[in-house]
C-alpha cells in the first residue's frame, strides 16, 4: 500500500471504560508504524456478553451495528484477542442464513486484527521504540491464543525491548477464570481458577504481569491485589508503546511496587 493504511480502532468496551490508556497506546503504536488511525463514534461493544448468554437476537443487532460502523477502513484493530476473535470468527457464523449480511461480516472479518498480531504479522514490525527496566511474565489469553494463534508475536516484540526480561509463566495457556459473565455467574469456580493463576504468577518472581486482554487483566490484577501480591499488571500495549510510567491496573497515582 503506497498511502498510509487507514485503520479504525475498535477500542473495546473494557478499554474504553476502565483503561483508556490502552486505547492511546494502541493509537500510538499504529501511528508510529505509519498508519492513520480513526475511532468510529458508533461503537460500544462487540456483543460477546449477549452472544455467550445465548441471546442471539441482540447479538445480531449489535453485530450489524459494528459491521456498519467499521465499513470502508483498510483495517480494523482491537487491543483484545477476545473482541477481535468475536468479530473475526463469530460474526460470519451469525449470518449463515443471511447472505447479504454474511458477505459484509466476512468482509469485516478479513480486515480485522488483534493489535499485537496486526503490528507483527501485518505491519511486520520487529522493533518498537520503548524502554523498560525489569522482569515481566506473560499470560496468553484464551481467545487470542486459540482462536487467533497469538503466542510468539507479543514475546518477540517484548524481548526486543532493552532492559526487559521475560520469564515464562507455567500454564500460561490455561484460562485465568475470567470468562466474561462466567466470573460473576460462577464466582466460586472462577475464584479457584484465578487463585491458581495468581499463585503461579507470584512464583515466577516477575515484577510485572502482561497480557493482551483487559478482562483477564482486571481479573488477575484484582486477585493479586486482594492477596497483597507484589506484582504490577499491565496491558502489553502499554509496555510496547513506552507508557509504563502510568499507574498499573488497579493502582493509584504514586503507588509503587511495595518492597
Amino acid at each position: 500500500m503506497s498511502e498510509a493504511p487507514r485503520v479504525a480502532l475498535f477500542v473495546t468496551c473494557l478499554v474504553d471504560l476502565f483503561r483508556p490508556s490502552v486505547g492511546f497506546a494502541a493509537v500510538k503504536l499504529m501511528q508510529d508504524a505509519g498508519c492513520t488511525v480513526e475511532v468510529p463514534e458508533a461503537q460500544t461493544c462487540c456483543g460477546q456478553p449477549a452472544y455467550n448468554s445465548g441471546d442471539r437476537k441482540d447479538t445480531i443487532a449489535i453485530a450489524k451495528q459494528v459491521i456498519a460502523a467499521f465499513e470502508g477502513y483498510d483495517y480494523v484493530v482491537a487491543p483484545s484477542g477476545s473482541c477481535a476473535g468475536m468479530i473475526m470468527k463469530h460474526y460470519p457464523e451469525l449470518f449463515e442464513n443471511d447472505p447479504a449480511w454474511a458477505a459484509r461480516a466476512e468482509d469485516l472479518s478479513s480486515r480485522t486484527h488483534e493489535l499485537v498480531s496486526f503490528l507483527a504479522d501485518v505491519l511486520k514490525i520487529e522493533h518498537v521504540d520503548a524502554a523498560f527496566d525489569g522482569t515481566v511474565t506473560y499470560h496468553d489469553s484464551c481467545s487470542g491464543l486459540r482462536e487467533l494463534g497469538i503466542h510468539d508475536q507479543p514475546r518477540k516484540l517484548l524481548t526486543d525491548i532493552d532492559g526487559l526480561h521475560l520469564r515464562e509463566l507455567p500454564d500460561a495457556n490455561v484460562c485465568c477464570g475470567f470468562g466474561g459473565t462466567f466470573c460473576v455467574k460462577y464466582p466460586d469456580i472462577s475464584n479457584r481458577m484465578v487463585s491458581n493463576k495468581a499463585d503461579l504468577i507470584v512464583e515466577t518472581g516477575a515484577e510485572t504481569l502482561l497480557a493482551g486482554d483487559m478482562g483477564c487483566l482486571m481479573n488477575m490484577a484484582g486477585k493479586l491485589q486482594r492477596n497483597g501480591a507484589n506484582v504490577r499488571v499491565r496491558h502489553v500495549a502499554e509496555v510496547l508503546a513506552g507508557m509504563s510510567d502510568i499507574p498499573a491496573i488497579g493502582e493509584a497515582p504514586g503507588d509503587g511496587v511495595k518492597s
Partner: protein
C-alpha cells in the same frame, strides 16, 4: 436412568471446591494427563491428519447410522450372537435382567462401562439379588466406597492413595491388618489377588464397547489391566452394552480411531490391551462365552441426529476434554451431578436429560477452548455449549435477573450515544470512589466480582470522550 443432581451444580461445586483432599488428588493427576497427551501428539507426525480422518469416519457413520447398525446386527447374528435394541435405559436394564435370569446368574463381572453407569445397571442387579463385581481397579475402588465415577476413563481420579488404602483395609478384613499397603503396586497386587478369584464365580460377564465394527460384527474394548478380557472370556454369557454411536464401518476405520484414542486419553500410543470380540465360542475355540449378547442403547441419541448437536455423537469418550478443562480440574467430576462430567458431559447431558435439568453445565464454561483444541474428533464443544445457552435463553430458562441485566445492557449497546452518556457517568463515579487506592474492594451490584477480588478503578473519563475532546497520544 441414573439419578441426576445437575440442578444443584452450584452447590455441588462449592462443596467440592472446599474439599482439600480432592484438590490434592486432582493436582497430582492433571499434569500427567496433559503432558502425556502433548508428547504423544507431538511424536506422531500424522496425528492431526488422523484426527481429521477420525472425525470424517464418525460423521459418515452417523449420517448412515441405520445402514451400519443393520449391517452390524446381521454380522453378529451370523457369528451366533444375539442383538437387542434398547430405546431407553429401562429397556436396557430389563434386557440385562432377562439374560441374567435365563442362566440363573448370582454374580455379574463387569468391565468398565459408562453406558452401564448411564443405565444404572449395578443398582438394578443389586435390587434383584445379583452381585455386580466391578473389575477395573478404579471402578472396584469406588464400588467399595459406594461412589460413582468422577471421570470417564479414570473413575477414581478424585481419590488419593491414602483413601484407597483406607478402603482396602476396611473391606479386605480377612487379610493381615499389619500388611504394608502404602505404595500403588501393593494396592494393585491386593486388588488383583481378590479379583482373580471372583472371575471364576460369575455366570455373566458384562463389558461396554469402545467401538462396534459393522463389517465384522465385532465389539472392541481397550483396557490397561486386562480385566475386560477376563470378565468376558470366563463366564458362560458375555453381554456387550453399548450405545449406538459406537459403530464404525470397518476394522480399518476402527484402527484409525484407536490411533487417536489412547494418545488423547492417557498419552499412550496404544492401550495395553485391545480386545476384539466376535460372537460366542466356536467349535474348537479353547475358551470364550457360550452366549454372546449385544444390547444397543439409544436413550435419546437418535433425537440428536439432524440437530445442531449431532456432532456430539462423534465423541469417542477419551476424556481429553476434562483432562484439559480448568473448570473440571477445579471442581472434579462429581460436581457435574450425572454420569458424564467435563465439557463432553456439558454438551451431552442436556441432550439426554433435557436442558431444563442440566442447563447449568453448558453455562459453567469460560469458553477457553482447550477442550476443542484437544478433542481427537474435533467436536466444537464451546460452540455446542453456546447452542444450549441459546435454547435456554429462548425457552426463558435463564434466571430473571440475568435476563433483565442483559436486556438493559443490550439496549445501551445498541444505542451508542446513550451508551456513551451512561457509561461516562458511571465510570466517573467509580473512578472517584476508587481514586485513593486505584481499586475498590466492594461494589454494589458487583458482589460476585468483589467477593474474591478487588475491582480496578477506571482511570476516569472514557477513551471515547477523551478522544472526542481531541486528546491524542504524546
Amino acid at each position: 436412568m441414573k439419578v441426576s443432581t445437575t440442578r444443584n451444580f452450584k452447590a455441588n461445586a462449592a462443596e467440592q471446591l472446599a474439599n482439600e483432599t480432592l484438590r490434592a488428588a486432582l493436582t497430582k493427576s492433571k499434569g500427567h494427563f496433559t503432558d502425556s497427551r502433548a508428547i504423544a501428539a507431538e511424536n506422531l507426525p500424522e496425528f492431526e491428519d488422523l484426527r481429521d480422518q477420525s472425525r470424517d469416519i464418525k460423521d459418515h457413520t452417523i449420517e448412515n447410522l441405520d445402514f451400519y447398525l443393520e449391517a452390524y446386527e446381521a454380522r453378529v447374528k451370523e457369528s451366533g450372537g444375539h442383538v437387542h435394541w434398547a430405546r431407553t435405559a429401562e429397556d436396557a436394564r430389563n434386557i440385562v435382567l432377562e439374560i441374567c435370569k435365563s442362566v440363573d446368574a448370582k454374580a455379574v463381572n463387569k468391565g468398565k462401562s459408562m453406558i452401564s453407569e448411564e443405565c444404572a445397571i449395578n443398582e438394578m442387579l443389586e435390587e434383584n439379588g445379583i452381585r455386580a463385581v466391578e473389575t477395573d481397579l478404579g471402578e472396584y475402588i469406588i464400588q467399595l466406597r459406594g461412589e460413582t465415577p468422577s471421570h470417564i476413563i479414570a473413575p477414581a481420579v478424585h481419590l488419593t492413595k491414602g483413601q484407597v488404602e483406607e478402603s482396602f483395609r476396611a473391606n479386605h478384613t480377612h487379610l493381615d491388618p499389619d500388611r504394608i499397603l502404602e505404595e500403588p503396586p501393593t494396592l494393585l497386587d491386593e486388588a488383583r489377588t481378590i479379583l482373580r478369584q471372583k472371575y471364576f464365580e460369575a455366570e455373566v460377564g458384562m463389558t461396554g464397547a469402545n467401538l462396534l465394527v459393522a463389517e465384522t460384527g465385532s465389539s472392541i474394548i481397550v483396557t490397561n489391566e486386562g480385566n475386560g478380557d477376563l470378565s468376558q472370556l470366563i463366564p458362560k454369557v458375555h453381554i456387550v452394552l453399548a450405545s449406538i454411536e459406537k459403530i464404525v464401518p470397518t476394522l480399518e476405520d476402527a484402527a484409525t480411531i484407536l490411533r487417536v484414542l489412547a494418545r488423547s486419553a492417557t498419552g499412550q500410543e496404544f492401550s495395553s490391551y485391545t480386545t476384539v470380540s466376535t460372537g460366542p465360542k466356536r467349535e474348537g475355540d479353547p475358551d470364550g462365552p457360550e452366549e454372546y449378547h449385544v444390547i444397543l442403547l439409544d436413550n435419546g441419541r437418535t433425537d440428536m441426529i439432524g440437530t445442531e448437536f449431532q456432532e456430539m455423537l462423534r465423541c469417542i469418550r477419551c476424556g481429553a476434554c476434562m483432562n484439559h478443562c480448568p473448570v473440571y480440574q477445579s471442581v472434579g467430576g462429581h460436581a457435574y451431578g450425572w454420569v458424564y462430567p467435563g465439557p463432553m458431559g456439558s454438551v451431552l447431558s442436556p441432550g439426554l436429560l433435557g436442558v431444563d435439568e442440566a442447563g447449568h453445565l453448558p453455562n459453567a464454561s469460560t469458553f477457553c477452548g482447550r477442550c476443542e483444541e484437544v478433542c481427537p474428533v474435533r467436536i466444537p464443544l464451546p460452540k455446542l455449549m453456546r447452542n444450549w445457552r441459546e435454547q435456554e435463553f429462548e425457552k426463558h430458562l435463564s434466571p430473571g435477573a440475568v435476563r433483565v441485566g442483559l436486556g438493559l445492557w443490550s439496549f445501551f449497546a445498541r444505542h451508542p450515544k446513550l451508551y456513551q452518556l451512561a457509561t461516562g457517568i458511571q465510570m466517573r463515579v467509580l473512578a472517584r470512589a476508587g481514586r485513593a487506592r486505584g481499586r475498590l474492594s466492594s461494589v454494589p451490584l458487583a458482589k460476585g466480582w468483589t467477593k474474591y477480588r478487588d475491582l480496578p478503578a477506571p482511570e476516569g473519563r472514557t477513551f471515547q470522550s477523551r478522544w472526542k475532546s481531541g486528546e491524542r497520544p504524546q
